[in-house]
């Protein structure tokens, strides 16, 4: 009798625990998809407007602050705070005397400036209307660091990464000043029909002068432009155009195949330049920008490419997430992209990844050191 009673109790307990276990939930952390902006976190979205699906700064690894959602339905952690109070142990953890690193310089008007410490985002700040910014980092151990600064323009185009290798000294205010972030730059056309115009635009510090450098790279390699079949030119480019680069709309190239043009940014830091390609030979070109403000010089911008050919092909509209080396298309080039690449090192690539490698990396069908170097160049943290 007693034994039967015990067995019954045991069965009831077993069934009840089975049901309890079946209630356990799961979370979706996936990447973005259409439907962004409807306040519903669809498959592929991290968040949607104010709907954060229970996420917070702490669930994203920060100490405190306010998590928000970007227009692309990605988590925005710029208002999250990371402080030096996470648990530690082992051999000690005696905190050092307060050490400070202060970053000051010029970015774009009202842009968010991001500071990276050894390739990881460590702080953000907002530049003033005049483009100046100051960001302080405290609670940092003394030692040798590579700090980096970058920003995005009003259209979400990233500047190039600017590195500062410094040795942080204990108990001192370590200053990194006169930072001058390179201008952003976009090109309106991937290919421009010879004789038509192509626009270059971007943002820099208000009223700065942007020196655009347009460089002839090579006579068109047909394999790189799939939409056309026949380019009837074979003349050596250097023999066609020699002379200093001056004038608007009638550019010419000097002996190094380089055409330069200085334009002045407006009060918000926007600049634009229209290039007439009538006098330029067909081929592949690159364009970079460098800002000058009084006696200060920025570094060189990210390089953009375009082709002078036989037809007009507009650049992709979705420039925000068209970042080279952004493997998982989350608008960042960071440790996730690095992790995905590590997975493919010394593995045969699958068809889907081959197409991504072709567009985002060097397109040689394998993942190797060259692809990692491209990731390092386009790094945003």
């Amino acid at each position: 009798m007693h034994a039967r009673c015990c067995c019954l109790t045991f069965m009831i307990l077993l069934v009840s625990f089975t049901f309890v276990n079946a209630e356990s939930g799961s979370i979706d952390f996936d990447a973005r998809v259409a439907g962004c902006g409807d306040s519903i976190v669809d498959s592929g979205e991290e968040c949607d407007t104010s709907t954060l699906s229970g996420a917070s700064c702490s669930t994203r690894g920060f100490t405190s602050g306010t998590l928000s959602c970007t227009a692309s339905c990605l988590f925005d952690t710029t208002a999250c705070v990371l402080t030096n109070n996470s648990s530690g142990g082992g051999g000690g953890g005696v905190s050092s005397k307060k050490t400070l690193v202060v970053f000051t310089g010029n970015a774009y008007s009202k842009s968010i400036v991001t500071i990276l410490k050894d390739a990881q985002v460590v702080a953000t700040g907002i530049a003033g209307v005049d483009g100046t910014f100051q960001i302080n980092i405290s609670d940092i151990s003394p030692g040798s660091y590579i700090f980096s600064a970058l920003t995005k323009d009003a259209n979400g185009i990233s500047s190039s990464l600017l590195n500062f290798p410094i040795i942080v000294k204990k108990g001192l205010i370590n200053k990194i000043d006169k930072i001058f972030i390179a201008p952003s730059i976009t090109v309106t056309k991937e290919e421009v029909k010879k004789g038509d115009t192509v626009d270059f635009s971007g943002q820099t510090m208000p009223f700065a002068t942007v020196v655009l450098t347009i460089t002839f790279q090579s006579i068109l390699n047909r394999a790189t432009v799939p939409s056309s079949n026949n380019y009837p030119y074979t003349t050596a480019f250097t023999q066609q155009t020699i002379g200093p680069a001056t004038g608007v709309g009638v550019p010419s190239l000097n002996i190094q195949n380089v055409y330069t043009k200085a334009v002045t940014a407006d009060s918000s830091g926007y600049y634009t330049f229209t290039l007439n390609t009538a006098s330029l030979p067909r081929g592949e070109y690159s364009v970079t920008g460098k800002s000058i403000y009084f006696n200060q010089f920025s570094t060189v911008s990210v390089q953009q490419g375009f082709v002078i050919g036989t037809e007009n092909v507009l650049a992709k509209n979705n420039v925000i997430c068209d970042l080279r080396a952004d493997i998982n298309a989350d608008c960042k080039v960071n440790i996730i992209d690095f992790s995905i690449l590590l997975y493919w090192v010394q593995r045969p690539l699958t068809e889907p990844f081959i197409s991504i490698e072709k567009v985002k990396l060097n397109g040689d069908g394998v993942v190797n050191l060259t692809d990692l170097s491209i990731i390092a160049f386009y790094w945003t943290g």
Partner: protein, 291 residues
């Protein structure tokens, strides 16, 4: 006369070649060793990079250690390499391989990549050399730079002695934020966590990770594919430096299991109940038998 002209022509060619060679090496990134004598038996070598005015962002190389050299410890604490593809840790087939990235690039005429301490067998005068090396420019294309590799012949009486105070590393590794992610492109679409930090004194030597309450810490490397893909457990990652200091980072689950809902806790509870039930049955049986 013809003989003199031949000599002059030969001299001219030699000069031209030497100028060409010097031009070539002027643009070559250089790897070298700087060796000092720590004490009577121990040496310290620093692997140095000179980028010769170019900005580089990727390096891959190896250093070949002769059999008479016994590696003791490698420190990457002062390295500018923040993302290691292959961290220099151990000797494999007589060489220490290393490769990694410096996002944004670096330009330097004497940059420490890492350092190591070693001993040498008595009466031996070994030479440290580098193996196959690639150094890539920070130009968005991964263009290789010419490389110059300088070997180091070690003869005890020519190595300078340094007195290094034994500083105790009490600093924790740097703060870090692990990132949880999933991509159809890798790891069979499974969730994985990526993490990286540095320790500026003795260097990070290992990472340890647990998933949930009932997991043991295990040594892992980034990226780590999660064992529990339902994401209902907090993930705790510890970075441990060479002095044993530990920096802990926690990724909180957005819908964490309460303790009694863990399968492990259910198993424990179930076992406890089972033992209790059998205990009661045994007690009643003994009591009935005694009556």
């Amino acid at each position: 006369m013809i003989y003199m002209n031949t000599i002059r022509f030969g001299f001219f060619c030699l000069c031209a070649l030497s100028v060409l060679a010097s031009t070539q090496t002027a643009f070559a990134s250089t790897l070298s060793f700087k060796v000092t004598h720590n004490n009577d038996i121990q040496y310290k070598a620093v692997v140095l990079l000179n980028t010769e005015g170019q900005t580089i962002n990727t390096i891959s190389s190896s250093m070949v250690l002769p059999a008479s050299v016994h590696l003791e410890k490698i420190s990457v604490g002062n390295s500018p390499v923040s993302l290691w593809v292959k961290k220099p840790t151990t000797v494999e087939n007589g060489a220490v391989y290393f490769s990694g990235l410096i996002p944004g690039g670096i330009i330097s005429d004497e940059q420490e990549l890492f350092s190591f301490t070693f001993t040498i067998e008595a009466l031996q005068e070994p030479t440290l050399v580098f193996g196959e090396t690639s150094i890539l420019r920070n130009d968005g294309y991964g263009t290789p730079t010419p490389v110059s590799l300088l070997e180091k012949y070690i003869r005890a009486d020519t190595i300078p002695k340094t007195i290094e105070s034994d500083l105790i590393d009490t600093e924790l590794p740097e703060l870090f934020i692990p990132i949880l992610s999933r991509s159809e492109l890798s790891f069979d679409g499974k969730y994985f966590v990526s993490f990286q930090t540095q320790d500026k004194e003795s260097g990070v030597v290992s990472y340890r990770l647990t998933e949930g309450l009932f997991d043991w810490y295990k040594n892992v490397e980034s990226p780590y594919v999660l064992k529990y893909q339902s994401l209902d457990r907090n993930i705790t990652i510890q970075a441990v430096d060479d002095s044993g200091n530990i920096r802990t980072a926690v990724l909180l689950s957005e819908h964490p299991l309460v303790w009694y809902r863990y399968p492990e806790s259910i198993a424990v509870s179930f076992s406890a109940i089972l033992l209790t039930v059998f205990g009661i049955v045994f007690f009643l049986y003994r009591r009935t038998k005694n009556m």
